[in-house]
Subunit: 393 residues, 2 copies
């Protein structure tokens, strides 16, 4: 993506530290939707800004499939900032001068929060596929426990892109009194057949890797890097748009203008995907990829309207739903479906489709109309009375 | 795809046999564009209908990436017909009552024509990656040699879908006097960055399979089935449309309505892709997949207009270019680009975008408007004088 898109306005939250807390233990285990009990559950999180005296200015950032707790500021090197640093900070859309911002690695992740790569206390070895299946709702339960730990009884807003937005939607529907506002960016209420298909093939690539060993690769001391790399390369194609790829790479060759005519990397787009696959291996766990993509597959809060109807009737949290016109991972139709269902139940909802050539990844970029839209919505969420009728978490 | 789409009109060409001929040998090797010489080159082909007395009614069918010579009729079981049997036969768009139709497995394939799975005479073992790189132009040279062998000096028409259409485009540009008409269905003059990206990831999946052994898996007696299966599953997503997948699978589960919550196949779309991946392994060779996709990547006949311009100026072969509105593998923009370049050089070109929910695979289906369009064009090609100014192959 062009560097200009990373040039943000506003300041940095500065140096930050990832914190760790054990939120569930043997005495108080996490009860999953499946009925399974999980303990201990440790959570990695970061906070930016200060919680005000009456605890009314907290915002949670729910990250996407491969994100982590380090959303803003920097660790060590000021030039290497968190993944949403252009969005969170003093003077930025999520303005840390007036908001207390929390971002946590989600359950099942591999960046400090308990997941399949954590040690299973029953065996003393990594869980692998013995980690229990969990749902988007379970991700939210862990976030809620973190909020209680931080003394936050109600959120000014919950904000999430992609899988993050799915968490926000679930949270709003199940605990409408806990959210002052909900911001969903390029999210969906349910994966399409094509979405599921891409995730299924990514999982196949991982599970067919001979180093996968039924998920026990850690114990054996190997990694299914070949499969995980292929999964990431494929997924990455779905995060960019056709148009964005054409602008960025076209058919340009990696080295000069003479094709090398072989199976090694030759086109720039090949080199880019290769690099994305390699970098990803350093920071992500294959089993986490399986669990989190599967949680997305099964998410479908509007699937049973007999159950969903009363929840939606009780929901008065204002929503901002944002899509990008070149996103084909979760295209505008996904957002529009959410908007239509919410509006049909008289939930206050603002919808904006933003023009951007950068596909699904647009939500991570500085796109002025997008940032302005979120900033304005969050200011309203803090100022208007309708946003402040409190309830407990 | 709905069975109705396979219900064609017209009859069958009946039982057929695939024939084999050695077109190049040590005395007359195939000279590839790279300068490499290849011998022997055996070609598998089928013919349907009868060549007329003056050899003026021949049509070649150029198949796509994973096709073969068995386009029409049947081997053994009348219920299991060739891959384009709904398109070729008495009374069908490619009408064998008046046309002599030839379909050959292409160079580099694995269905009877010499390719990387053939025996390298220098070593007595399969070529593997010692098979020379070849281009779309080289595929056409082998087809031309087959036509000479069959006594055909000029084709009434060349017809191809996808990679088949790319062969037809090359043929027309390089040997305009040899083609009475050119039919390109969901083809492209050059792959986009996204197209190349998908092919690159498919190749990665194959080459990272530990059973690939640098392409020497045959010699070792194993197969990179895991990787080839993943490549096929991914590619298959790009052959269907989002809309087609929604209609066919939606979010339906494989068994009943209760999710099984695991990593095994659960959604119908997963089961379908799994099946496609498995079936493909029985009939395709991983090295052929690498070579043929790479030939597609490099194809770009309009890339150097200094070279292409005079060829296009000399080209008076009437073209029919057909795209499908739900095809996102080679979408209508790809076809439109071909049409615009041809029209700019006063090549007679008819363009039709056909409405179909079935994506790239539409070209294999019975879509009445599509079949009518091709049938009418081919009738014109036989009847109008402009189509008959002959020249030699």
């Amino acid at each position: 993506m062009p560097d200009a898109l990373h040039t943000d306005v506003g300041g940095s939250v500065g140096p930050v530290t990832t914190q760790h807390v054990t939120l569930f233990d043997d005495v108080h285990p996490l009860e999953l939707e499946s009925g399974h009990r999980l303990a201990p559950v440790e959570v990695a999180y970061e906070t930016y800004g200060e919680l005000d005296a009456n605890g009314s200015n907290a915002v949670i950032i729910c990250h996407a499939l491969t994100g982590d707790a380090h959303a803003a500021g920097y660790h060590g090197d000021p030039l290497r900032a968190g993944w949403w640093d252009n969005f969170i900070g003093p003077g930025k859309p999520v303005d840390t001068r007036r908001l207390f911002v929390v971002c946590a690695n989600l359950l099942g992740g591999c960046m400090g929060t308990t997941g399949p790569s954590s040690i299973n206390p029953e065996t003393g070895e990594p869980y692998g596929l013995r980690f229990p299946l969990f749902t988007v709702g379970d991700l939210v339960e862990v976030h809620r426990a973190l909020m209680r730990h931080l003394g936050v009884t109600r959120l000014r807003a919950a904000i999430g892109g992609s899988l993050g937005g799915m968490q926000v939607l679930h949270w709003a529907m199940e605990f409408p009194d806990e959210l002052g506002a909900a911001v969903l960016v390029c999210a969906t209420s349910r994966l399409s057949a094509q979405n599921i298909a891409f995730s299924a093939v990514a999982r196949e690539a991982i599970m067919r890797d001979p180093n996968f060993h039924g998920g026990d690769y850690q114990r054996i001391g190997v990694r299914p890097d070949a499969g995980l790399g292929v999964a990431r390369m494929m997924a990455h194609i779905t995060y960019l748009s056709e148009e964005g790829m054409r602008e960025k790479f076209g058919r340009r060759l990696q080295n000069g203008t003479t094709p090398r005519f072989g199976f090694d990397v030759d086109f720039q787009v090949e080199s880019y995907l290769h690099h994305q696959g390699e970098v990803f291996l350093r920071r992500f766990d294959a089993n986490s990829y399986l669990y989190l993509t599967r949680a997305m597959d099964y998410f479908d809060p509007f699937g049973d309207m007999v159950a969903a109807g009363p929840k939606l009737e009780a929901l008065r949290t204002p929503f901002l739903v944002v899509s990008f016109d070149s996103d084909w991972r979760f295209d505008t139709a996904h957002s529009r479906e959410i908007v239509q269902v919410l509006a049909a139940h008289r939930v206050p909802v603002t919808f904006r489709e933003i023009t951007s050539p950068h596909g699904h990844d647009s939500f991570l970029l500085v796109i002025p109309e997008y940032h302005r839209t979120v900033a304005n919505f969050l200011r309203r969420a803090g100022a208007e009375p309708g946003f402040t009728d409190a309830a407990g978490i």
